[in-house]
Symmetry: C2
Subunit: 331 residues, 2 copies
């Protein structure tokens, strides 16, 4: 096994976020589940966009956000995801490459358009996401760069992309390529409703030892295990996972690896502006520590620092100099 | 003369801003004039975009920003400007309508694309703008809604749009329609380089009494009058203008009307994040006071409050509830 030339390669949705503040009453009136992620068709996306206030566009996508954090911390990263040959596709491709991340998946011509996520941000920073998957759901297995996957220390996959068929097959193929090369596979469960749709798949992957690092939040842990109790959920999953990371919003996070358990408190934030990307950036910090061989507690702390940065402003990509921030916080 | 049913109708560039932080060294290395606005062709826009860090997209356009502020304050507004039939055109149209501004100019099919302004934001908040005018420069005189112009108390025009031929002709036609209906014409000089290109036109408009309210900053005043001294510049221009407003960045602003002169200090800002739109939002506050018949000093104060809000965050459109902010500040 050669030394990896990439730290983390990720497969994820290639999405541009369209974000606007909204009251909880307006979110409820639109029939949206506050805090959730709902897939929407073009007609519903149109309807929701019409109901949205003046917005801003910022590149997003769960795994892509994680890579943006990793690259900002100094990791070598590559992204695989499908945009369309349109203006928002150019925006996504620009932003990810400008962050120093290799991105070679060719844009897809014709309809549908590049994926968009309409995000209503509540006054307390909670985000309610409505995703039009567009071109992103047509990522073909042929778009995988097997050489790149084999040369990355970690293959990172987002559960959101398990919904559409083509990317799901691509991810299964990528897992095989990574494991065949002796690399690690990290997976983020993304959303409790995604788990409801694919619980058996996810459980089977874990039981078969295909996942080395699993990221979940409390709700996703409960959805996956069927156990409401946080500790029972961890006890059930941990034996099948080399690394299990569970985030708990303002209660911090827990990681279990090889019988060792570590915890971290949430990093204080002056004002929570927009929680979009909190989990993604937690994963970025954690994975950065992991690929650098840092102790479990430090990996968690890195995750908490990065998550705190991203929720202190609009958008799911880091704005601060994460390297400097981490250096300052860890001393 | 019937009562106006619109407070302010504006003709301006329909632009989406693409904004990213940049060091002054990077701005210099790209050959850009820090703080300026440069028109760029597609090749140069492409080159600059490639050199730009991860960005965010926020609707802009000078006059459109002013309307966004006016509408947020409670004024009835309408916008005339040209987007293309593309994704960024949809973004611009959505954002302006979502702000409560009437916008009926049909999107233009085919090339070029919707206008974009690549904005490099320095650590001190200074913005360096590079505008690809795209579809915006093809606003035809036929797009004017003469009835709407005649029913607006103020027609507001941006100097930036004096560069391309078609919109310049459209604006001349609009001035005639507004004045013919006994309405006021407000004009913002936009940029010293724009004045260099059109000094004779602007001076002729003022000398002919076609402009009722002129907005300029210190540099634009000097460029228009050829007088370096601020007071001499004002003394030269004021007699030909019912209202002259000169903004002076951190030194505040001055307004002269009918022999009365008023001044305002700059509103304190905790941190200047991005000065894009400072002049646009100053004009919004001032015009709001003007159409509501407020005293000159209060118009200036409204301008200062709105400008302070917009420079405290990224993007040239207001984020805070300007109505509430003004109510709080003016007591």
């Amino acid at each position: 096994m050669t030394q990896p030339s990439i730290d983390v390669i990720a497969i994820g949705n290639a999405i541009v976020d369209v974000m606007a503040p909204a009251s909880d009453a307006a979110i409820a009136a639109l029939g949206l589940a506050r805090g959730g992620m709902t897939l929407v068709d073009p007609a519903r996306a149109h309807e929701l966009y019409n109901a949205m206030g003046p917005a801003r566009e910022i590149s997003g996508g769960s795994a892509a956000n994680t890579l943006a954090g990793l690259a900002a911390l100094g990791a070598r990263c590559a992204f695989i995801g499908q945009v369309a040959d349109d203006q928002l596709g150019e925006v996504f491709a620009h932003d990810i490459r400008a962050g120093g991340i290799a991105f070679a998946t060719p844009a897809r011509t014709g309809e549908p358009a590049t994926a968009r996520c309409l995000i209503f941000v509540s006054p307390d920073g909670q985000r309610t996401m409505n995703t039009f998957l567009g071109a992103s759901q047509f990522l073909p297995a042929a778009a995988l760069d097997d050489d790149a996957i084999r040369s990355a220390a970690v293959l990172y996959l987002e559960g959101y992309l398990w919904d559409p068929e083509e990317p799901r097959l691509a991810m299964r193929k990528a897992i095989a390529a990574a494991r065949g090369a002796g690399r690690k596979v990290a997976f983020t469960l993304s959303d409790a409703f995604v788990i409801d749709r694919h619980r058996d798949d996810f459980r089977a992957l874990i039981a078969a030892g295909q996942i080395d690092i699993l990221f979940a939040n409390e709700h996703e842990l409960a959805a996956l295990t069927g156990l409401e109790d946080f500790h029972e959920g961890i006890a059930l999953l941990a034996p099948d996972l080399p690394v299990l990371v569970v985030t708990r919003s303002e209660k911090g996070a827990v990681a279990i690896s090889g019988g060792e358990q570590a915890e971290v408190r949430a990093e204080p934030v002056a004002r929570v502006v927009d929680t979009t990307g909190a989990g993604d950036l937690f994963a970025a910090g954690f994975l950065f520590g992991h690929v650098r061989g840092r102790p479990l507690a430090e990996c968690l702390r890195l995750g908490a620092i990065c998550a705190a940065e991203v929720i202190s402003h609009y958008g799911a990509r880091p704005e601060a100099d994460l390297k400097a921030l981490v250096a300052e916080k860890l001393g």
